[in-house]
Symmetry: C2
Subunit: 232 residues, 2 copies
């Protein structure tokens, strides 16, 4: 049976380190428009909601074709967590799964999102996290985690690590509500699926430097640089 999926895009107007980042243009579109366009183009969602404390931002996203879920201002502080605002959202909206699409992932490709949604449809996890798989030599607490000092091996031979990137997260509504009511953390609730997304589709947007990197990557996708070599 087809699962009913609702998109939830958390957005604040009052971002600290990159002021008003959600309405700032990255390349040809404002940041907040990327997840809205991805969600619309996927044609898999019953509804597409942006949750924000800002009435002004609410009007903008409605023009972009998403619905406006007004977040109470105590859920829009720097310390408000996924857990709190997702619970607030899920109490108000019926669905089988909520898919949180992070607006700080403008590099996410349509194809990747669609595969993620297929994965949620085809399995029956309570939580699906998006992860980046990396095969590099890692130290943890000062000690080698996945390699040995005895031998340098090709990185393809290393045991990978998976980093949660929060670009896309799926939660089964029923489980999330139940666990929260039982005072159990629902963010990593129930059975957990991990879905791998390509490294170049994930980014942080915490600092201005992060912003410039993401904009540079986006730019490099759109404008291939000229291919030039030293003449031998």
């Amino acid at each position: 049976m087809q699962k009913i999926m609702t998109a939830m895009i958390p957005a604040r107007l009052g971002s600290k380190r990159i002021p008003k980042k959600n309405i700032r243009y990255m390349g040809e579109k404002p940041l907040i428009q990327y997840p809205i366009d991805l969600a619309k183009s996927s044609k898999r969602f019953s509804d597409i909601w942006v949750t924000t404390e800002s009435e002004e931002l609410g009007k903008i996203i409605e023009k972009m074709g998403a619905s406006f879920h007004k977040r109470s201002s105590e859920l829009a502080t720097d310390t408000a967590t996924n857990r709190e605002f997702t619970y607030d959202f899920l109490k108000a909206h019926k669905c089988d799964y909520v898919i949180m699409i992070n607006p700080t992932s403008p590099l996410l490709r349509q194809e990747t999102m669609n595969h993620f949604l297929d994965y949620v449809q085809e399995h029956n996890f309570d939580t699906v996290l998006s992860v980046i798989i990396e095969k590099e030599e890692i130290f943890f607490k000062g000690q080698p985690l996945n390699f040995s000092y005895d031998k340098k091996v090709n990185s393809q031979m290393l045991e990978p690590i998976e980093t949660i990137c929060w670009a896309l997260t799926a939660w089964k509504r029923e489980t999330f509500l139940k666990l929260q009511q039982e005072n159990i953390n629902p963010v990593f609730g129930g059975t957990i699926g991990r879905f791998s997304i390509p490294k170049d589709e994930s980014c942080d947007l915490d600092t201005l430097e992060d912003w410039n990197i993401a904009e540079g990557i986006l730019n490099s996708r759109m404008n291939k640089f000229e291919e030039r070599y030293i003449e031998l």
Copy 2:
């Protein structure tokens, strides 16, 4: 006492997945020129050597102001390791430390390289590795490594992992030669220092996609994009 440091820049002409990448222009300079320029500008090296199997590349790097260490062709295959070609290099060149500068790190900043060299000078490690520090939720072998399902915490609270990035590596010559002769892996030999470099200065250049990302980041540093917002 000032330690004598020699720069070793490993370069092949016969790269597979990005053909001739070392002589390909990234932005305004060919890739191989980035580490040469960094090494020259640091003014800390007794010598700056590029090790390559290619006579043609050898001539080019000499014009750029580096010296040419001819690598035997059996040390220029895809399977030749750091261990082999560094040993070959160190047998031929006297110094206290060899600093391997990876040409696949065009994003490395001068300041970072200089701090790395200070670190090598001020300590007495046998090996110094460059690492990227990351504070993200990590899975290892399918299990949470540095977080707990019980609680979602701010990423700043997470135990970091350190990923070896191979942008810069220092080896004490004496130790390296001794361990290799004893058939002990010298790549992670003796006492090991870890030097953290900023995340946006490290990159892979294995695939064309990696290349485009790096070129995009470089481009974003040189050309600030216009700062535009949606009008409220």
